[in-house]
């Protein structure tokens, strides 16, 4: 019962059916128009909820039973603690005790800390995962061991999928650093404070049942109520829901590599010297080490030139917080706090504003913030000569990273990918990306340690950069230089026939498929 494969508008071969549902192949950027109405949760009556507002139940297992957990249901959790999340695993341990099977896990992202879920995939408790898979789960998926297809969505794409009814969440479990018995919740305070709960917004609005789990229960009202108790069915108190110190993990560490620092500095120079850096501008830098270093360099350049930004988009870090507190930006519009300074600032600074994938990224809304940002700095595992980019798989086909907000950010006025031109003999500039995550028409600039390649579509940027004396090269030249160093054009790795996961575009269409990696 393998789904039929077709070629989509990007020339990629994708299935027409994903996990039993019809899927629309990618039609081109901005081409697909959905019809109909948004999804909606069931009607309820407050007559069925405790009149004293106390929705606290004994434990997670009780809450899941009360929420009617059954075979085949979709259960969601969130990654506000990144690699320090304790709730994702706890939910499925409780589900295992209840004895259900074939659940779909719908996390906003998974991390290496979720490796214990592999046992639940093996046992049949979890049928498959739809959500970014980082590390061991990605390996499990590309090894072809998962029963259903992995589905990778951007943060905005996840909101879109829930809002449009592409994914129906039966039970959402939201880990909340502070909550009241009514279910109002936020991430700002409490021993496990993580900042904001934006990734859980769609779940709280559209899931049939919503469970809030906290380790810091306060009397009503818990305010600000980032999650509104009016959407919540049950509240559970746990000893500890997350390890906020592990938020800073993996990708969120500043690089020490001299080559990466060189790339970061060149990126900051590009933003400054092409005139993007001017009073009232805006930028966003991702969580990778190079992007963090970029923000530090740019901060110094803004200071030297006396420039003030109107807003900076988070993932916030201590460096963005310093910018805000030193008056180098009017606002931080934050989707996710990447360190504890970010958490503190969001709590203390009224101009450090929490945003959600709805406000920032949702493609099926009446606009979003992504296209208003002057420059965005993102990572990539590969870029090809047509500026198509990959952010989820390595060149050997292994699935190792999530999409995050990456696809959504591509709509910025200037999308910059600062990347090394090769990693340990593996060229990053290639003929054709292993997995297409971002169409080349949206990628404007590739900055490597060996020079800057600007998308030929952006003649304005080429003129500005040339005038500023920046080291420009054609992307084909960069590729040739890298292949000379690495010892020729690499062989194309042989991947299996079996499709193990798909990459959705921001509008829900299928952009590419990920194939099984053969041992």
């Amino acid at each position: 019962m393998t789904a039929r494969l077709v070629e989509n508008a990007a020339g990629r071969i994708v299935p027409e059916e994903v996990n039993g549902k019809t899927a629309v192949p990618f039609q081109g950027v901005g081409k697909f128009r959905p019809e109909g109405r948004k999804a909606a949760p069931p009607l309820v009556s407050c007559a069925d909820y405790p009149i004293d507002g106390n929705k606290v139940v004994d434990d997670l297992e009780t809450a899941l039973r009360a929420a009617g957990l059954k075979d085949g249901m979709t259960v969601s959790t969130h990654h506000h603690f990144r690699n320090g999340d304790l709730v994702g695993n706890a939910v499925f341990e409780a589900a295992a005790r209840i004895g259900v099977k074939d659940l779909m896990w719908f996390p906003s992202a998974s991390f290496p800390c979720h490796a214990p879920q592999i046992a639940h995939l093996d046992s049949g408790l979890i049928h498959h995962i739809e959500g970014s898979m980082n590390g061991p789960l990605g390996d499990y998926c590309t090894a072809g061991k998962m029963r259903g297809l992995g589905v990778l969505r951007s943060h905005g794409g996840r909101y879109q999928a829930v809002q449009d009814g592409d994914v129906h969440i039966d039970i959402a479990v939201i880990a909340a650093p502070t909550a009241d018995p009514f279910g109002n919740a936020n991430g700002l305070t409490g021993p496990s404070a993580c900042g904001l709960l934006g990734f859980a917004l769609a779940d709280s609005q559209y899931a049939d049942k919503v469970i809030v789990v906290t380790d810091n229960l306060v009397p009503f009202p818990c305010h600000p109520w980032q999650i509104q108790g009016n959407n919540v069915d049950h509240v559970v108190v746990m000893d500890k829901i997350g390890e906020p110190e592990k938020i800073v993990s993996g990708t969120t560490q500043l690089t020490k590599s001299p080559d990466r620092l060189l790339i970061a500095e060149m990126t900051a120079r590009f933003v400054r010297d092409t005139g993007i850096m001017r009073d009232g501008f805006s930028f966003q830098a991702g969580a990778g080490g190079t992007a963090l270093a970029f923000a530090i360099y740019l901060k110094e350049m803004m200071k030297d030139a006396g420039i003030r930004a109107r807003f900076v988009r988070g993932g916030s870090t201590q460096h963005l917080v310093q910018m805000l507190e030193e008056g180098l930006t009017d606002y931080i519009l934050d989707g996710q706090t990447f360190d504890l300074e970010g958490v503190r600032s969001m709590r203390e600074n009224p101009t450090h504003v929490d945003t959600s994938p709805f406000t920032s990224y949702n493609y099926h809304g009446k606009g979003n913030f992504a296209s208003m940002v002057d420059a965005v700095v993102l990572g990539a595992t590969e870029v090809d000569v047509n500026f198509n980019a990959n952010v989820v798989t390595h060149s050997d086909g292994r699935l190792l990273h999530g999409i995050g907000g990456w696809q959504n950010c591509l709509f910025s006025k200037c999308t910059i990918l600062p990347i090394p031109s090769f990693r340990d003999r593996i060229p990053v500039i290639v003929d054709r990306v292993t997995t297409l995550c971002g169409p080349g028409e949206l990628v404007d600039v590739v900055i490597t340690e060996r020079g800057i390649a600007i998308n030929p579509r952006r003649t304005d940027l080429i003129d500005a950069a040339r005038g500023a004396g920046l080291p420009l090269k054609r992307i084909e030249e960069l590729k040739a230089e890298v292949e000379r160093i690495c010892g020729g054009t690499p062989q194309t790795p042989t991947l299996g026939e079996k499709v193990v996961a798909v990459v959705r575009w921001v509008d829900g269409t299928v952009l590419d498929s990920i194939r099984q990696v053969l041992e």
Binding site: L262, R425, G487
Partner: protein, 415 residues
């Protein structure tokens, strides 16, 4: 038991290197067992490199285990050759990677040597991008950064790097070991367009002459007798400091005299301090010896890579003492050195005026350069010319600053 040997490194922390074990056999051809994290992309290429290298070394029958952590071809070649030599299976000239066109540029006696970046000679991962950080010189080090048991391996890796790695215009330097071991190092690298040989712990002109003569012999043998290899002796002992002038004058190919303070302070029985009072005499001695011999005095390295302010001060002090350059061990130090070596604004403004006056005097056939009512002595002119060149090298002045100057003084800019 068949002759067997290993070379290179493997393990979780290893990057851009490989580990090789070669076991000679009497028959059965070559059996290559490859384990590589880039096997799906470069497996065929790695096997080809291995077969060609072994073939070139005259090995027809062997079992070869190759554990690769993303090594580029010239590294794989060096590791295989090292293992083969260690097993006693080859004594010939070895298998040299072809000389890439990016490795054939030359150098000049007069070029700036503000910064020279030390790279450990047995560590390939730092070599590939070192030139991108734009040091004036790159030193592939065979001496202190290489463990005694790895000298043979480093020598071949450095030789191959000189033939394959683009150092982007940086002067190509090798620090050999102390003599006599250093003479063996020369054999490996002399014919691979090495620009400067650094002679460590140099204590006599005899040592310089020995290196000089060996270089000549090796260049003659390679059929490139017209090639030039410059020498930079390093003064690192009391005896060396005393003999500094003779060392600097020992050969016309000496272009600079460097000082190394870790060994020097140990030699005179004291500790190296940040303040450096203990080494003031030696540093000044090296400056004076070098200047007297007409070569460039070069200061020691600054080894705290986290302390950029300390580095800046140390470079300013070196400049004030008369040094032309500073050693560094991390790419992030290069920019700081170049900035601190750059002429101060006032100094540059005056130098520009003098150069303009000098050019005018030349054009008008005058023997004397004057600025206003003041006559400028030749050494002052010489220093001004150097200051301006330094400013151009550091990006402080445009190449064509003279034309721009002429235009603005003739009112052309107002048109």
């Amino acid at each position: 038991m068949n002759p067997t040997a290993t070379a290179g490194r493997k393990g979780p922390g290893v990057r851009s290197d490989c580990w090789v074990q070669v076991e000679a056999r009497d028959s059965g051809g070559l059996e290559i067992r490859l384990q590589s994290k880039v096997a799906s992309m470069y497996g065929d290429s790695i096997r080809r490199t291995a077969e060609e290298t072994l073939g070139g070394l005259g090995i027809e029958h062997a079992a070869v285990d190759l554990v690769d952590s993303g090594a580029v071809p010239f590294v794989i070649m060096a590791r295989i050759e090292t293992a083969v030599r260690r097993a006693g299976l080859c004594e010939g000239p070895g298998v040299l990677p072809e000389m890439d066109p990016c490795c054939t540029y030359g150098t000049t006696r007069e070029r700036f040597r503000r910064s020279r970046l030390y790279l450990p000679g047995n560590e390939s991962k730092f070599m590939l991008s070192a030139g991108l950080h734009q040091p004036d010189g790159i030193i592939l080090d065979l001496e202190d950064s290489v463990a005694p048991a790895e000298k043979d391996a480093a020598r071949l890796l450095v030789r191959n790097a000189l033939r394959q790695v683009d150092f982007h215009g940086a002067e190509r330097m090798v620090r050999i070991n102390q003599l006599p071991l250093g003479l063996e190092d020369l054999e490996a690298v002399a014919a691979s367009n090495v620009h400067v040989i650094l002679i460590p712990k140099c204590e006599s002109k005899k040592q310089v002459k020995a290196v000089d003569q060996r270089c000549r012999e090796l260049l003659d043998a390679a059929g490139t007798p017209d090639d030039e290899i410059f020498l930079m002796p390093i003064i690192e002992s009391a005896r060396g400091a005393i003999k500094a002038y003779k060392i600097a004058k020992a050969s016309p190919r000496v272009i600079a005299l460097a000082v190394g303070l870790e060994d020097y302070t140990a030699d005179i029985g004291t500790l190296r301090t940040l303040e450096g009072r203990e080494s003031f005499w030696a540093r000044s001695q090296v400056v004076n010896a070098a200047r007297a011999a007409g070569v460039s005095p070069i200061d020691t390295v600054f080894s705290d890579v986290a302390d950029m302010e300390g580095l800046r001060e140390s470079v300013l002090e070196a400049r004030a003492l008369g040094f032309d350059g500073k050693g560094c061990i991390h790419p992030r130090q290069i920019r700081v050195i170049h900035e601190a070596m750059a002429p101060a604004e006032q100094e540059l403004a005056r130098a520009k005026k003098i150069v303009v006056a000098f050019n005018r005097a030349e054009a008008e056939g005058l023997g004397v350069v004057s600025l206003g009512s003041k006559m400028i002595d030749p050494p002052v002119v010489k220093r001004a010319l150097r200051t301006v060149r330094l400013a151009v090298a550091g990006g402080q002045l445009a190449e064509d600053w003279l034309e721009a100057e002429a235009e603005s003084s003739s009112g052309g800019a107002g048109k």
